[in-house]
Symmetry: C2
């Protein structure tokens, strides 16, 4: 599929990889500079200096230079400290440069094949992170990676999964390996460690010191992408154990660090990570708000993939639900945004109390189960497996804890810097979740602050966006460094104040109704 370009770039013509025309002076008895030195000298005169060429690439490049004659184009990759000669190609003709942007998610790997010079997304694919077999949660994987063998296995399967996905995308789109010149990856700190083959064990031990936060730009083959002989690899730097390259990438994509007004980025993945700030300061914190919001904890919960109920409306009179399913006629489960809408609608329909308990209203959808009462969101005729999709009070309790955690994180981080929610000009919601969520519903249940709805902007996978943008605009590397140095990480200390805040936020929308003036009591 050829999607239209959604890669916003700020500066013209500064891609991560360039196609630089070169005209070499003819060698002669009077100027017997060697082929590669001649190329280096010529590039240097055009402002590309210093340049390097990997030992393993030299012979091929020299032979090509000899075959091409004195006029050709050089594919130059930008490695911050130098330019890397990746290839030489014929002097004219269409020669697209491709790159991959990769979001190294702990659950899902999302890859984009990008036509760098045209700033076009050629193809996008999501695949499961195969590391899941060593544990859904990142902690089990970190423990497994303590041994070199364990780390080696985790790394190998990650590289293999990325490689396979890339090779399939290249095949589908007819892109040759020699035309791929950049890999731009972002992940959280643990994923970055797995990707690079670094012991992550100290990430989760006080004082939470990663093995590395910054990574040199290297040849893709150095990290095992042997099928990409002419490609650089860039991995976004981490800020620390809890703020990874994915967040840095997201902040750069959302341009938080250049905004005059104070803005917020909420990235809901397996964890919830929040960054707030403006051009003068950036504050980040993270919390375990995510799993239930992604549908991961609720019994029939699932991610927002085919079969997931993501839209729910409930008839105020009858209590009968109407719902939408992602890409399918029948439902298999319910995803995060579906849960938000379900709870909001149940509350508005008086099926749920402010405490999140079922009311005594008569409703044909109530069921008695061994786990207590439940609400049948989908009937057996509407589901993939012929089983009703039931949501119990327990499920709702778990979900309300997650939404409360989210609201608490937002409250605490704002209080840390003496801000009111109303001071936030924009709030970006990233993650698969952010794309599906209806802010009105989320406000109604008290998950996010009661602000004008146009304050909220779903920005999709902002980590992937940042990586895509960097491929097309290398000047963002400066922004990356700025963001990395600006972000201060705030530890959310568990204290009495926080616990009280959290308790109040578990109600619908909150124990303090003044915080949600727009939410009408049903």
């Amino acid at each position: 599929m050829n999607q239209s370009c959604d890669i916003a770039v700020k500066v013209e013509n500064r891609p991560f990889v360039e196609l630089v025309p070169v005209k070499l002076p003819a060698p002669s008895l009077g100027d017997n500079t060697a082929d590669l030195d001649r190329l280096t000298r010529t590039l240097s005169q055009s402002g590309f200096s210093p340049v390097r060429l990997a030992p393993g690439r030299m012979d091929e490049v020299v032979r090509k230079i000899r075959a091409l004659g004195l006029s050709f184009r050089t594919v130059l990759g930008y490695a911050a400290t130098h330019w890397e000669i990746l290839d030489v190609v014929e002097a004219s003709g269409d020669r697209p440069l491709f790159g991959f942007a990769v979001d190294l998610g702990s659950t899902t790997l999302v890859l984009r094949l990008i036509d760098i010079l045209r700033r076009k997304i050629v193809e996008e694919t999501a695949v499961k992170n195969p590391q899941v077999k060593w544990g859904e949660d990142i902690l089990s994987r970190i423990l497994f990676a303590r041994s070199r063998e364990g780390l080696g296995e985790l790394r190998a399967c990650l590289i293999e999964a990325c490689s396979k996905a890339m090779e399939k995308m290249m095949k589908d789109c007819g892109v040759a390996a020699r035309s791929v010149h950049a890999l731009c990856c972002a992940g959280n700190t643990a994923m970055s460690h797995f990707f690079w083959g670094l012991d992550p064990s100290n990430i989760c031990r006080e004082p939470y010191i990663p093995a590395a936060n910054t990574f040199p730009t290297v040849h893709a083959s150095e990290l095992g992408f042997d099928f990409l002989p002419a490609s650089l690899l860039y991995l976004f730097p981490n800020v620390g154990a809890y703020v990874g390259g994915d967040i840095v990438s997201g902040v750069v994509a959302a341009d938080l660090n250049r905004s005059e007004q104070t803005r917020m980025l909420i990235d809901v993945g397996t964890n919830a990570e929040v960054v707030v700030g403006n051009r003068q300061w950036l504050l980040a914190c993270a919390g375990a708000a995510g799993p239930a919001l992604e549908g991961g904890v609720v019994e029939r919960g699932m991610q927002a993939v085919s079969g997931a109920i993501d839209r729910v409306r409930i008839d105020r009179q009858t209590g009968e639900p109407d719902f939408g399913v992602v890409g399918s006629a029948k439902a298999a489960g319910i995803c995060g945004s579906g849960l938000i809408e379900l709870v909001a609608e149940m509350f508005s329909s008086k099926i749920l109390t402010i405490q999140g308990k079922f009311t005594e209203l008569p409703c044909s959808r109530f069921r008695d189960t061994p786990d207590g009462r439940a609400y049948a969101l989908a009937l057996s005729s509407q589901t993939v497996d012929g089983q009703e999709i039931l949501v119990s009070e327990i499920d709702i309790g778990v979900f309300l804890k997650s939404k409360a955690a989210m609201y608490t994180i937002l409250s605490v981080i704002c209080r840390k810097v003496g801000l009111n929610f109303a001071d936030l000009e924009k709030i970006y919601i990233a993650g698969a979740f952010g794309n599906h969520i209806d802010p009105e519903m989320a406000v109604r249940i008290g998950m996010i602050p009661d602000l004008p709805l146009d304050t909220y902007h779903g920005v999709g996978n902002s980590s992937l966006s940042g990586a895509s943008m960097l491929l097309c605009d290398r000047t963002l590397l400066t922004e990356v460094e700025t963001v990395r140095n600006m972000i201060t990480y705030v530890e959310l200390n568990v204290n009495v104040e926080l616990i009280n805040e959290f308790r109040g936020a578990q109600f619908i929308p909150h124990t303090d109704p003044r915080l949600f003036p727009s939410v009408q009591s049903p």
Copy 2:
């Protein structure tokens, strides 16, 4: 064997690899800089910046840092544009850093294991260059290397031969692979191409353009030395097709570029290469004077190894010879310096005419052979194979052409810059040949100019000396660049003048006796 140090260094404490003590600030919740970033920052504060660490080394280094605690030493290699972190080791205790200096000769590979910090040669070994099986002469190998497969084979056997020799030396001397941190190599331009895996075919085609004259400092493993995981590799740069890194290394070792007085370096290997100059200018030329001088063309010729006759005296009355053999009781052949002495002594004993023909003097050593008359230098009882070692008029003719070529090269290069031989303050003679030659004998036959004998200095393998010195003194890298930029290569155009010069020089000592006033007519 523990030889005493012969590595002259000009600057104290600037080795190619350093052992840098590091004391890291303790990580804390307030300073959660990652392990590697902490190391990089600390090194940078000590003046080592920028530093790099290869992706494949990172995990091992981090794990070691964690095991060593906050105080340890870093093994840093100097890569000109940056410092390379090669390893981290315990904070105290004897920790020698080893390196190999390698002379990549087209016939012989000579390797030295060096204790870098003590500036001691631990062991030296010479092995045959296995590429000889594709041709003694470099031209056959260049032709063979035109195909990638051919080049691959030539390179592989070279790397393998070096590796085997190194591994044996390390085993013999009890040096672990992880203690070897530098490989410093020098070879002629073709050998440098084979070593790096570069197509050499344009070296011997007008306008004689090498693929590369300069090479980045890389990890030894990048060139296939996988058994040296913590070692940098430096290859001396070439000046051009005919002046290789071995000559640059030799000039640096001989310090020609810093001499107030004009000096000359003659390197007699498979070719004869000559550099003349001082701190203001350097001129180089090369010619095919070598093979006969190394004993390579004469029928019973051989290199100066065990069994080679290298000293000859002939009784002026009887014409009976007395000779010395390298490391053996019986003779197997005659080497270059032996030939020089034989011809000089035959001339002084009136066995040879000024034209290099046998005289009619009665002599029991003359033999009649199918190839004409010959002189029996060694009797059957004195040789390894029980065959007399005969030197024919044809052999002598070949040899005289070589010595004439040598003298002609020296004449021409001096004339190019308007110098008389007497203007040369010192003449260094390098190569195995240089170590064995007796200047008085070489003057007597008119191979080298008739100058005071203390003008001549045998300097052995000057290419290997330069490589050894660089391991112990990285400031010589500046000298290398200076030399490379200073040297002007002079093509010896074959013209009438040169041919006349060459013809005159084929006599003993010369057709013009005024050029050799010290040589008495016998």
